[in-house]
C-alpha cells in the first residue's frame, strides 16, 4: 500500500506541491493528471527519493520514503519524463547492468532479463544495440529496466510522451498488465485520453493542490452536476430549443445546427423518459436521443482553472 501523507515541496516562496494526501492499493493504476508545471513531476520525484520533501512523507508498505530511502529504492521502479539510456551497449547488457545494481543474484539474471524482455515485447531485440532501438522501444526498455527487480511500486512520469499511436497503445496495454500483476502504478500525464482507458484511480493536481482523487467513475460523478443529452430530429426545427427551455429539470439548451439540440439536464432517468415522450407527443420526429458521457477531459476542465506556476 502506498500512503502519501501531507507531502509538501516549497522552493522559496513557490509552492510546488501543497500537502497532498492519497492512498493506493496493490493493483491500482493511478492516473496523475495536471497541466505542465502543476506539480506532478515534483510529487513523483519525492516518491522516487530524488527530492527531499519540505514537509510530510510517503510510506510504501510501511517503509518511509524520507527515513529509509535506500529500502524504498529497492522496492520502486522509476521512469523519468526525459531520460537517456547507455546506448553503446546491447539491450541485455543494459538490463544486466541494472540487475546487478539492484542486487539480482548473478544466477537469476539471465532468466530475469528474458522475462522482462518478454513482458515488454523486446525479446527479439535482446542482442541489438540500445542506440538502434526506436523511441517506443527505448521507452519499453526503460520500463523493462524498472522491472528487473520486481518492484512493488512503479512511478512512470509521462511515459507515453513522444510515442506514435501504435507505441502508445502497446505501452497502455503493458501498464494495464502490470496493474493486473498486483503492482501499484503511478502514471502521470497531461494528455487525458492516454489515462482514461486504463487507470482505475485518478488524481487531478493544479498548482500543487490535489483537486480531486478517487476511482475514475466516482470522480466523474462527483464533478458532473448536470448531464448533457443530445437530441437529433428528422426535420429542421429551430424552435425546439425554446420548446425545451423551461421544461422541468432542463437547465440550458443549445442548438447545434437546425436539427440537433443539446440539453443540460438535472433530472433522473425517469424524468429523461418523460421529456422524450413529451417531445414525441408534441409532434417532433426524434431520430436520436442519447446522453453524452462525461469524460476525464470534461472533469479536468471543470476542476482546474488552467493556472500554472
Amino acid at each position: 500500500m502506498l500512503e502519501v501523507l501531507g507531502l509538501k515541496k516549497h522552493y522559496g516562496s513557490l509552492v510546488a506541491v501543497n500537502g497532498i494526501e492519497f492512498a493506493l492499493q496493490p493493483g491500482d493504476i493511478f492516473g496523475f493528471i495536471g497541466s505542465n508545471g502543476a506539480g506532478k513531476t515534483t510529487t513523483i520525484k519525492m516518491l522516487a527519493t530524488l527530492l527531499e520533501p519540505t514537509e510530510g512523507t510517503a510510506r510504501l508498505n510501511g517503509i518511509d520514503v524520507v527515513m529509509d530511502p535506500m529500502e524504498i529504492k529497492r522496492r520502486i521502479g522509476y521512469m523519468p519524463d526525459f531520460f537517456g539510456l547507455y546506448d553503446d551497449v546491447k539491450v541485455w547488457e543494459y538490463l544486466d547492468f541494472f540487475a546487478t545494481l539492484y542486487e539480482v543474484p548473478a544466477r537469476e539474471r539471465p532468466k530475469v532479463i528474458d522475462n522482462v524482455l518478454e513482458l515488454t515485447d523486446l525479446s527479439i531485440k535482446k542482442e541489438a544495440f540500445v542506440a538502434t532501438l526506436s523511441r517506443g522501444m527505448q521507452q519499453r526498455l526503460c520500463l523493462a529496466k524498472c522491472l528487473v527487480h520486481d518492484p512493488e511500486l512503479l512511478l512512470l512520469d509521462e511515459p507515453a510522451s513522444g510515442l506514435d499511436p501504435r507505441a502508445r497503445a502497446e505501452l497502455k496495454e503493458l501498464i494495464a498488465e502490470l496493474g493486473r500483476m498486483g503492482k501499484i502504478v503511478v502514471v502521470s500525464s497531461h494528455i487525458l485520453p492516454e489515462l482514461a482507458d486504463f487507470c482505475n484511480t485518478v488524481g487531478i493536481i493544479e498548482r500543487g493542490d490535489l483537486k480531486a482523487f478517487g476511482p475514475v467513475r466516482e470522480v466523474v460523478k462527483t464533478i458532473q452536476t448536470a448531464k448533457v443529452i443530445e437530441i437529433r430530429l428528422l426535420e429542421a426545427a429551430p424552435e425546439v430549443s425554446m420548446f425545451l427551455h423551461g421544461k422541468p429539470h432542463v437547465t440550458n439548451t443549445h442548438m447545434m445546427g437546425s436539427t440537433t439540440v443539446k440539453v443540460e439536464f438535472a433530472g433522473t432517468e425517469q424524468d429523461q423518459a418523460e421529456m422524450l415522450k413529451h417531445l414525441v407527443d408534441s409532434g417532433y420526429k426524434v431520430t436520436e436521443f442519447r446522453e453524452e458521457a462525461a469524460d476525464l477531459e470534461d472533469v479536468f476542465l471543470k476542476v482546474t482553472t488552467g493556472a500554472v506556476q
Binding site: 527519493t49 530524488l50 523519468p80
Partner: protein, 285 residues
C-alpha cells in the same frame, strides 16, 4: 550505519558493474568498424613497432624514459576517460536512473572511478612491463650506453608508485570536476584548464619565484611529478637544482606521493558530496 562505512565502497559495491559496462562498450561490435577499427589497428601497430625497436635496441633505451611516457599518458588518458563519468550522465539524462538504484553516491563515485584503475592497468601492461623487462635485462647485463646512475628495480617501483599516485590524483580531480559540470564538453574544458594550472602554471610560478625565494621555488618545482620521476627512478636528487639534495633530498618523493593520495581521497569526497546533493534534489540533475 554500515552503508556509510568505507567498506561498503569497496566490498560488494554493485557499481563495479560499471567496469564491465565500460568493457562491453569498448569491445562493442559497432565500435570495431570503419574508422574506429582502423584507428585501433594503427595504434596497435605503432605500439608493437616501438616495443620491438625498444627490445631490439635495449641497451640504448633507458627505462626511466618509458616511465616518463607512462606518466605523460596517465596525465592525459585518465582525465580524457573520466571527464564524462558524471557530467556525461547528467548531459544524457541517465543519472536519475543510477540515483534511484539502491547504491549510495559514494558507491557510484567509486564505481565510476574504477575506470582509473583500468587505465592504469593498461598503461602498466603496455609501458610498465616493457620498462621492467628492460630494467631487468640491464641489471643482469650491467650495461648502459649513457652515463646515468641507474638504481635498478627499486627505482622502477619507486617511479611506478609515483605514476600510480599521479594517475589516481588526476582521476580524483577529474571526478570532482565531472560531478560539478553538466556537460561532457564543459567537464573536458574544465579538466584541461585544471591540468594546465597544475602542470604548467604552478611550476612556471615556481620558476619565476626562484629569484625571490629559491627554497619556495624548489618546493613548487620539485613536487611536480615530472621532476620527481627522475629522482624517483635514478635516485639523483640534483636534477636542475644543485642544492636540492642538501636542502630536501629524498623528503620530496614520499611526501608528494602521500599528498597525492590524500588529494585523491579529498577530491573523491567532494565529488561524493556533490552527487549526494544531486541525489536529494538540492542540485538539479
Amino acid at each position: 550505519m554500515s552503508r556509510y562505512s568505507v567498506k561498503h565502497l569497496f566490498v560488494g559495491n554493485p557499481m563495479f558493474a560499471e567496469v564491465v559496462r565500460e568493457k562491453n562498450k569498448a569491445f562493442a561490435e559497432h565500435n570495431w568498424r570503419g574508422a574506429q577499427l582502423a584507428a585501433r589497428v594503427l595504434l596497435l601497430v605503432i605500439y608493437l613497432f616501438q616495443l620491438i625497436l625498444t627490445l631490439r635496441y635495449v641497451t640504448y633505451v633507458e627505462p626511466f624514459i618509458l616511465m616518463y611516457v607512462m606518466l605523460g599518458l596517465a596525465t592525459i588518458l585518465i582525465p580524457a576517460g573520466l571527464h564524462g563519468a558524471i557530467a556525461g550522465d547528467r548531459e544524457k539524462r541517465s543519472l536519475d536512473m543510477l540515483l534511484v538504484a539502491p547504491v549510495t553516491p559514494g558507491q557510484i563515485i567509486i564505481g565510476k572511478f574504477g575506470k582509473t584503475f583500468l587505465s592504469l592497468m593498461m598503461l602498466i601492461i603496455a609501458v610498465g612491463v616493457p620498462a621492467l623487462v628492460i630494467e631487468l635485462v640491464k641489471e643482469t647485463a650491467s650495461t648502459s650506453r649513457f652515463d646515468l646512475h641507474i638504481s635498478g628495480v627499486v627505482g622502477f617501483f619507486r617511479a611506478l608508485a609515483l605514476v600510480i599516485a599521479t594517475g589516481l590524483s588526476m582521476g580524483g580531480l577529474t571526478m570532482w570536476i565531472s560531478s560539478k559540470t553538466r556537460s561532457n564538453s564543459g567537464a573536458m574544458l574544465a579538466t584541461v584548464g585544471a591540468l594546465f594550472v597544475v602542470l604548467i602554471v604552478i611550476p612556471a610560478i615556481g620558476g619565476v619565484m626562484s629569484a625571490l625565494s629559491p627554497s619556495a621555488s624548489e618546493l613548487l618545482v620539485s613536487t611536480n611529478p615530472f621532476v620527481l620521476l627522475y629522482y624517483a627512478y635514478n635516485g639523483d636528487p640534483n636534477y636542475g637544482y644543485p642544492n636540492l639534495a642538501e636542502n630536501h633530498g629524498s623528503f620530496f618523493l614520499w611526501p608528494t606521493i602521500t599528498l597525492m593520495l590524500l588529494l585523491t581521497v579529498f577530491f573523491l569526497t567532494l565529488a561524493t558530496e556533490n552527487l549526494r546533493n544531486i541525489a536529494r534534489g538540492r542540485v538539479e540533475s
